[in-house]
């Protein structure tokens, strides 16, 4: 490599990344400074965390969850990790390895749940047994188990690594369908209510590209390969669409999502309260639910009784793609 001409906007050292939405390039140190400030602003703006909170970070082995765990620890928060082994073949084996190495190298407390060992099913089997798309079965399982672990462990708040791209893509989908209930609930802080723990998303002001860059300059190894059974899902196509807009008009994703939070979400606040409605206790597990048996217990019942489905069977459905 020769002739690296661009300089960091802050210190004029050689830049490692250009961020068109900030109309600037940054060296490794000032990229980190930008990320720290953006996370701190999100936490402050939405009153996400207190200095003495006990935090449970939902970690997957991917860049976002490891980055947010790293950033919280660096900022002085008390944050433990929870990893759920989803049973998605080598992908899960590799993901778990990255999480364990991250925690071990830093002396951090990590709890691990294995779906197959602890609950008698895995995500490929759950998807097949329930007829849900894999991401739906995965999301339902993770939400429930993170909630339960936070309540059982006495944690004040669950942190997830959802970033600006994630939230903008979900907002895009909800807007395409004008799904008012989902739009009303798409907030970066969900307060502790009705037996659910508080949940927050400190990375909403940071893009996937910035989080991947954070991991690279901090020396954090993470699973780069995409989940083999997520490929081709709608969420990913929304991200690609938004990135094509971003390429022509840098800053569009931030304007779309952060503008929604600032100007539209307050108008939907009443809808959110109405949508919450009355909740019952699940007849099986006692968790809050709108019906008699919660969605997780229904999934568990069908999945644990189903013959295990190898992940390879999920890959033969023509969903693979190159990027």
């Amino acid at each position: 490599m020769t002739g690296v001409g661009s300089k960091c906007r802050v210190c004029k050292a050689p830049a490692v990344i250009d961020l068109p939405r900030h109309n600037a390039k940054f060296c490794a140190e000032h990229l980190q400074q930008l990320c720290r400030r953006q996370m701190a602003k999100a936490i402050d703006d939405f009153d996400m965390l207190s200095a003495d909170d006990r935090i449970l970070v939902a970690v997957s082995g991917g860049k976002d969850s490891l980055a947010v765990w790293d950033m919280l620890i660096e900022a002085g928060y008390q944050a433990d990790g929870l990893y759920i082994g989803l049973g998605i073949g080598e992908y899960s084996t590799d993901s778990g390895g990255y999480v364990r190495r991250f925690a071990d190298e830093r002396g951090l407390h990590l709890t691990t749940i294995d779906l197959r060992t602890d609950y008698g099913y895995d995500i490929p089997t759950a998807a097949r047994a329930t007829g849900r798309v894999p991401c739906s079965a995965c999301g339902l399982s993770k939400r429930r188990l993170f909630d339960q672990a936070a309540l059982d462990g006495g944690y004040d708040v669950v942190v997830t690594g959802h970033n600006l791209d994630d939230e903008a893509a979900v907002l895009f989908g909800n807007t395409l369908r004008w799904d008012i209930d989902y739009l009303a609930r798409q907030m970066p802080v969900l307060p502790a209510t009705n037996g659910f723990p508080k949940k927050v998303k400190p990375l909403i002001r940071l893009t996937e590209r910035e989080m991947a860059a954070w991991c690279l300059v901090r020396g954090i190894d993470y699973v780069v390969e995409e989940c083999p059974i997520a490929a081709g899902n709608r969420h990913l196509s929304y991200k690609e669409t938004l990135n094509s807009v971003e390429a022509k008009s840098p800053g569009s994703k931030a304007s779309f999502y952060l503008g929604f939070l600032e100007r539209m979400a307050p108008l939907l606040a009443g809808q959110s309260a109405a949508a919450a409605g009355d909740l019952n206790e699940c007849q099986r597990c006692g968790s809050p639910t709108t019906g008699e048996v919660c969605a997780f217990c229904r999934l568990l019942e069908k999945s644990a009784a189903h013959e295990p489905v190898p992940v390879e069977m999920m890959l033969t459905r023509g969903k693979g793609r190159r990027r």
Binding site: M1, C135, R209, E226, C227, H235, K239
Partner: protein, 66 residues
């Protein structure tokens, strides 16, 4: 120069003497969705890549959603 691509993991050989942005454009890859690492170091879009460099083009889009 050797260029490592991901998802799926594969390696291709590309002539040097081009910028990072040009490489991504020629590969048909979105800059917003990728980072480029040259000889182990993250590099910006105008960095010049040469023959003999080892390049990784790393996608950054991840995650499913229900």
């Amino acid at each position: 120069m050797k260029v490592l691509l991901r998802n799926p993991r594969r390696e291709i050989e590309v002539d040097g003497g081009r910028s990072v942005d040009r490489l991504l454009e020629e590969l048909g890859l979105d800059r917003e969705a990728h980072l480029v690492i040259c000889n182990g170091t993250l590099v910006p879009g105008d960095a010049r890549l040469d023959d003999g460099d080892t390049i990784e083009v790393r996608p950054v889009i991840s995650g499913g959603a229900d």
